[in-house]
């Protein structure tokens, strides 16, 4: 297995912050893996993600210790411009991502490729692929600002996909969206995950995340307080709750049954697993 992202003892403070906002964080993401970064607001999730595309420390400055290696490049020694083709970054608010310079969806997706100097036919091909992938075909000539929230965020993902980065980083891509938008965007994330993309994603919707995350990292006050297989982290119900993170309802329910009544069964993390487990525990008939 090949680590696309390798973070070793990363410690960081913004020039203006009193304390370190990232404290001695280490993790790895292999090719094709999805790492979900979870934790309360203010835990350092966004800062951690920005350390992967070089915004931290190149843009913000500050105190920096440890090493971050992405696609073989050490971030500290690599300019942001070079990292930008290796790391695709999807912001929380799609309006932060949209260039504002492109008049149409098509141009918006082509923009990054043009800046990178790709030949015309390659651009046309990649734009078409990316737009199809996120399900925006037919909207090519719309203005990006006429799109719904979910469409705009999918456009932001398309602009990232067109560049074919080695790792896609997403910072709470559904936080500003309504349920339909959330569903649209999470469907694309799931498709990417199933298609073998390497992804690091911060996301609050843990009941959805469990369907595509291989690993999880629980961040609180700048520290990685839990890190490992997604199933194991999600099952740490007390730990998650004490850090202000809700596990999936079905996992929490299973934990209550175990801790209060001694019902010993594997903790389900998805609805489908829960139906199986609770049918057995409560003696129902399989439908």
């Amino acid at each position: 297995m090949e680590a696309v992202v390798k973070v070793e003892n990363l410690t960081y403070a913004y020039p203006t912050s009193k304390d370190f906002v990232l404290k001695n964080i280490s993790f790895e993401v292999q090719k094709g893996e999805v790492l979900a970064v979870i934790g309360p607001n203010g835990a350092g999730k966004s800062t951690l993600l920005k350390s992967l595309n070089g915004l931290v420390p190149h843009f913000y400055g500050g105190k920096y210790g440890g090493r971050v290696i992405v696609a073989g490049y050490e971030v500290l020694k690599t300019p942001i411009s070079e990292l930008s083709t290796k790391v695709g970054f999807v912001f929380q608010d799609p309006e932060d991502q949209i260039s504002g310079l492109a008049l149409t969806v098509w141009e918006e997706v082509a923009f990054g490729l043009m800046m990178l100097g790709f030949p015309r036919d390659v651009i046309a091909e990649r734009v078409r692929e990316a737009i199809d992938y996120v399900g925006l075909r037919g909207l090519e000539s719309r203005s990006p600002f006429e799109l719904s929230g979910g469409e705009m965020q999918r456009l932001a993902i398309a602009t990232v996909l067109a560049v074919k980065p080695e790792v896609i980083v997403m910072d709470e891509p559904t936080a500003q969206l309504d349920p339909l938008g959330k569903f649209e965007v999470l469907s694309v994330v799931r498709k990417l995950a199933e298609g073998g993309a390497t992804i690091v994603i911060a996301e609050h919707e843990i009941e959805d995340v469990v369907y595509f995350a291989d690993k999880m990292l629980l961040l609180d006050d700048g520290r990685a307080v839990a890190y490992g297989d997604a199933r194991e982290v999600v099952a740490m119900v007390e730990e998650l709750k004490s850090r202000g993170v809700d596990p999936p309802s079905v996992t929490e329910l299973s934990h209550l049954l175990y801790s209060r009544l001694g019902v010993d069964a594997d903790y389900p993390i998805t609805l489908e697993e829960a139906v199986e487990v609770f049918t057995r525990v409560l003696g129902g008939q399989h439908a």
Binding site: N41, S249, L253, V263, L271
Partner: protein, 284 residues
């Protein structure tokens, strides 16, 4: 029988003479002491309805009565004393440079004496848990506290009805729990609360009654325990019920009835079922 506080009668609304109707004949009665969730996709008319109730928008046709005052003929400042509206985005509402002044703004405008203004500021800040932050700049607060501040500012007007427009958007789980507890507490203290939200877990944990809006009309209006179980209607409106409801429905198909809305409720019902099973086994 509690009193009707707000009566919405055949309410039609459009933003301009040639705009499409945002509300099409809405009828709704809100009783004193209720905690109601209004759900539905964006563009369904939730916020428009709420703004009509708060007197911020006047009906194009039909009428809205707040304690028998018609919002079309009553000055807006009379309505805002009764109905407080908390905007979705806190920065749309905050404009003072100190927390104290932000909360005092409304009561001062009501022309209340300074001691009463001070009393209300203290009370409102303590209600939302922000006592001690009087001298902070609102923009130095984190997003969750900023939200609480906007709620305090509205509470300081001592409204009978509090409207919260998507309070949990952008909040983490801790922030959501705080807001859920606050909504329940204020409601217990006698304030009628209307929450517009996409957060079905929040609905399940707080609201007794839920109204589903789509296309400018009320599609469902009933006890939350019924509305959140109307899964086919919800699905048509792109709403996913809470995971506990989905679980309950699947278990019911397998002969297990828990019909719960929250984790706590599901646990209690499962506990009863397990005890019954253990009992019948030991007798057998």
């Amino acid at each position: 029988m509690p009193e009707v506080l707000i009566r919405v009668e055949d309410l039609w609304f459009r933003y301009g003479e040639t705009s499409p109707w945002a509300l099409k004949g809405v009828n709704l009665s809100v009783f004193e002491g209720e905690l109601i969730a209004v759900i539905g996709q964006n563009g369904g008319g939730k916020t428009t309805l709420a703004k009509c109730i708060a007197g911020l928008l006047k009906p194009t046709k039909g009428r809205v009565l707040v304690e028998n005052l018609d919002t079309s003929t009553t000055p807006t400042h009379e309505i805002v004393k009764k109905v407080g509206y908390v905007f979705q985005n806190p920065s749309h509402q905050i404009f003072e440079s100190k927390v104290r002044d932000e909360v005092a703004y409304g009561p001062r405008n009501l022309g209340l004496p300074p001691e009463e203004v001070e009393r209300r500021v203290k009370w409102a800040l303590s209600e939302v848990g922000l006592l001690g932050y009087e001298d902070h700049n609102p923009y130095d607060l984190d997003y969750g506290k900023m939200k609480l501040l906007t709620i305090a500012s509205v509470l300081a007007m001592k409204p009978k009805v509090l409207i919260l427009d998507e309070p949990t958007t952008g909040q983490d789980h801790r922030g959501r729990h705080l807001l859920a507890e606050l909504a329940l507490k204020l409601n217990k203290e006698g304030i009628t609360v209307i929450v517009i939200t996409h957060d079905m877990k929040f609905v399940a944990e707080t609201a007794k009654r839920t109204v589903l809006m789509a296309g400018g009309e009320v599609v469902l209006d009933g006890p939350t325990s019924e509305v959140l179980y109307a899964v086919d209607v919800l699905r048509k409106n792109a709403i996913k019920p809470p995971q506990v409801v989905q679980l309950s429905i699947e278990l019911k198909r397998r002969g297990i009835d828990i019909s719960a809305l929250t984790v706590r409720e599901a646990f209690e019902k499962m506990q009863v079922l397990l005890e019954r099973r253990a009992g019948s086994r030991s007798r057998g």
